[in-house]
């Protein structure tokens, strides 16, 4: 098993800015079933949701409010999982409910293992 991180990107422009309570319920339910499935397979490591506000610090220590100032996509959350290989990780990531929103995306990255590297 290898460890992967799934980054969820939210399109800040096309997202449904004012969902109804029922839509919110559906959103949360979708995340539950997604995570539940990963937990049940023994592949869940951890994860967090993120608030939209933030700061971006660039070369020269220039601090800007962001990330929304420059890009329309912002990281809305991440989870880390154990998967047999990249395909397995991508399959899990493809079920991420954020992909129900047009313009949103997920990115799967393998976490480099210290032991393998040395």
């Amino acid at each position: 098993m290898e460890e992967y991180i799934i980054l969820m990107r939210l399109d800040l422009i096309t997202r449904d800015a004012q969902p109804s309570p029922e839509q919110l319920q559906v959103y949360m339910q979708q995340y539950h079933s997604w995570i539940d499935g990963i937990v049940a397979a023994g592949k869940f490591v951890g994860g967090k949701g993120l608030s939209t506000e933030g700061k971006v610090i660039r070369f020269g220590k220039v601090i800007t409010d962001g990330p929304f100032a420059e890009v329309k996509e912002s990281i809305a959350g991440f989870i880390s999982i154990r998967a047999t290989d990249f395909d397995d990780a991508a399959r899990i990531a493809a079920d991420c409910p954020i992909l129900n929103g047009k313009g949103n995306s997920v990115e799967v990255r393998r976490i480099v293992d210290r032991e393998q590297r040395s």
Binding site: P21, G49, S51
Partner: protein, 412 residues
């Protein structure tokens, strides 16, 4: 995760949205001013979006309400800093109230929230804003209804409601309206406007053509909640508010009884009296009594009294109701009132007198008008009855109403 835990969680978010969204919006409006209503809404919505995702991944925090306030407060401060408004301590004092509330939710009274909502309600009912816009704004900002739900209630499309809300918010900006309560001299007139808006919210739920009965019930309960806020605040607790409350309670007691299994509307005469909700009738009686404190007899007083006689058995019931309608028509000359009076007249004097009275009522494009005429003619001249039922079917908007009318037509 345990399944009962998930169920609890899933029921909690919409519930929290219903109770907390409006509090967050009104406190933020008070902080930002009415120039920035959209930002307040955006921040409140974003807070709930973040909650849906974050709680979906990690599960519910130990104190969800506190979580929401903290996230909303941080977003607000971030916004103020970015827009360069974060200068004085005064600006953030309401937000601090929010934070204190979140840290010790049970120790502080709800005053900050109640007060902010009341102020917002009075600001939205500004005389320069068209009444139907006030209703939409109240539903959005004070009741937390989504654009889709408001569109459903008004039986129109989302785009239409979005435009209407946008225009109304533009008006608020142009007016430079503040969230200060109106001065004593204007208070009376403004309370009248606020009560009218609350009544329209209620009617939207009670008489809406929408087939979504859960949504309609919510609308009625929201109107009752807004009115309760007025009654609980000393400076706005006028007898007229109690009269409106009584009126809504009496009507609401029949909410379930008037909807059939197919969603069709059951006329008053055909309802099962024992199914009327006694608790709401009692509540209505309580507020009707409180409404009698003042000198004035307003339209709401008369309508509440009419509703009272509809809800309880009384000797000479219809004579009393007819009498009250006569008085009501003197202060509120609406064709709907005239039509309802004609029904009372029919109960007292028979269909011919009622038909004669209806000839002077200008409601030719109203399906209820033709449905009533159909009913009145059916005992006298079936051809006429058929004509009016057909007109009513053409004019009715919801399929369940059309069906019920068609059944009447077939029964002739």
């Amino acid at each position: 995760m345990h399944s009962s835990f998930i169920m609890e969680l899933e029921n909690t978010l919409p519930h929290l949205f219903r109770t907390e969204y409006r509090k967050i919006v009104s406190v933020l409006c008070r902080t930002f001013g009415l120039r920035d209503v959209e930002t307040a809404e955006d921040i409140a919505s974003e807070t709930f979006l973040t909650a849906a995702q974050s709680w979906g991944i990690e599960g519910m925090p130990p104190n969800p309400t506190a979580w929401l306030y903290t996230v909303a407060r941080n977003k607000a401060i971030n916004h103020l800093k970015r827009s360069g408004v974060f200068k004085s301590q005064v600006v953030t004092s309401y937000l601090d109230g929010m934070a204190t509330q979140s840290e010790h939710p049970s120790e502080l009274p709800n005053e900050v929230f109640e007060d902010s909502q009341l102020r917002l309600m009075f600001a939205l009912c500004h005389p320069a804003i068209a009444v139907e816009m006030q209703v939409a704004l109240c539903l959005r900002l004070l009741c937390g209804f989504g654009v889709g739900e408001i569109a459903e209630a008004f039986v129109t499309d989302k785009e239409n409601i979005s435009k209407r809300l946008l225009r109304a918010k533009g008006h608020l900006r142009d007016l430079n309206a503040t969230l200060d309560m109106p001065p004593g001299s204007q208070m009376h007139a403004r309370i009248g406007a606020v009560l009218t808006t609350i009544y329209l919210v209620f009617n939207e739920g009670y008489y809406s053509n929408s087939n979504d009965s859960v949504l309609r019930k919510d609308l009625c309960l929201e109107a009752i909640r807004l009115c309760t806020m007025l009654i609980e605040c000393k400076s706005t607790n006028v007898p007229e508010a109690s009269a409106l409350m009584a009126l809504m309670c009496f009507h609401f007691s029949r909410f379930e009884s008037r909807i059939g299994t197919e969603g069709e509307l059951i006329p008053y005469d055909e309802q099962v009296v024992s199914s009327w909700n006694v608790d709401w009738i009692t509540r209505g009686g309580f507020f009707l009594q409180r409404a009698g404190r003042g000198e004035d007899v307003t339209a709401f007083h008369l309508e509440a009294a009419i509703a009272y006689y509809h809800a309880v058995p009384a000797p000479e019931k219809w004579e009393t109701i007819l009498n009250l309608y006569d008085k009501l028509l003197l202060i509120k000359q609406s064709p709907i009132v005239a039509m309802n009076r004609a029904y009372a007249l029919y109960k007292v004097a028979g269909p011919k007198d009622a038909i004669a009275a209806l000839e002077h009522v200008d409601l030719d494009d109203n399906h209820l008008y033709h449905a009533l005429l159909g009913q009145l003619w059916s005992a006298i001249e079936q051809g006429r009855a058929r004509y009016h039922f057909n007109r009513a079917i053409d004019l009715a908007q919801s399929t369940s109403v059309k069906q019920a009318l068609r059944k009447k037509l077939d029964d002739l």
